[in-house]
Symmetry: C2
Subunit: 166 residues, 2 copies
Amino acid sequence: MKEARSRCPINLSLEIFGDRWTLLVLRDVVFGGARHFRELLGGAERISSNVLADRLAALVEHGLLTRAGDASHKQKVTYSLTERAVDLVPVLVQLSAWGVRHLPVADAYAARAEVLTAGGPPLWEAFMDELRETHLGTRRGQAPDGPTVTERLDAAYAASVADRTE
Amino acid sequence: MKEARSRCPINLSLEIFGDRWTLLVLRDVVFGGARHFRELLGGAERISSNVLADRLAALVEHGLLTRAGDASHKQKVTYSLTERAVDLVPVLVQLSAWGVRHLPVADAYAARAEVLTAGGPPLWEAFMDELRETHLGTRRGQAPDGPTVTERLDAAYAASVADRTE
């Protein structure tokens, strides 16, 4: 890794994901459940194959993703979030919430962000525990009642899409 | 403004500050009190004059900064945060907190981030009110007791620097 421009936390963070694509790749793993190259290639922003491969390699290098499977066959590799990446959820939620308040966000995306904003830190923690279970194999301490946070986010998204097509 | 790649809040946010410099410029206005071109040029990361001019123009275009003064003399222009920019404080704080937890942050920077993390949302709100007073001329409703958040952050920074030189 090349030398940092400064050791400010915001600068060091931007040296990892201060570009237009890296956080979108993480977004699709965190909120979209994408684990494979081809799924990540299917995001709304139409990332190119080269850029995606480059960003995945950087995320692995910086300890935000791990890869399992045959690295010489990129279609077969499965990506998992690390604890460091799961811990970015509050940043992603605050960034989404800011976007919903100030930018022309589409309804379907806003629906998910609003569930997370309304739930506050306890809901983010529950979501992070679900991610840890899925990606790190950590068993959750207590079985939650009712739908998971992931299911609630998906339901909010689906309901918003259904509203628009009615 | 050119067409957005998608209307996801994270994507729309990254279309504004998804680069290695824009959030650093905002950081220096928000946490460093910088209001003028020359002050912003003095940041730890040694931004170039051209890049700074470009990012300031983009921040004005996207409604995160306003400029007052003679635009043909960039040294004389004063920049102010907008409400939209003040509202980014929770994002900046969460990003800093993440950096402190996971990256090799310098002590002096960590000290400020730790004050903000420990204070939680009520402290962020108080800080945002101070920024609104400074940049938007909004009078705060109630006079706070004791030092301002800005003073507390500066004191934490100064104490940390003093520790290192003892």
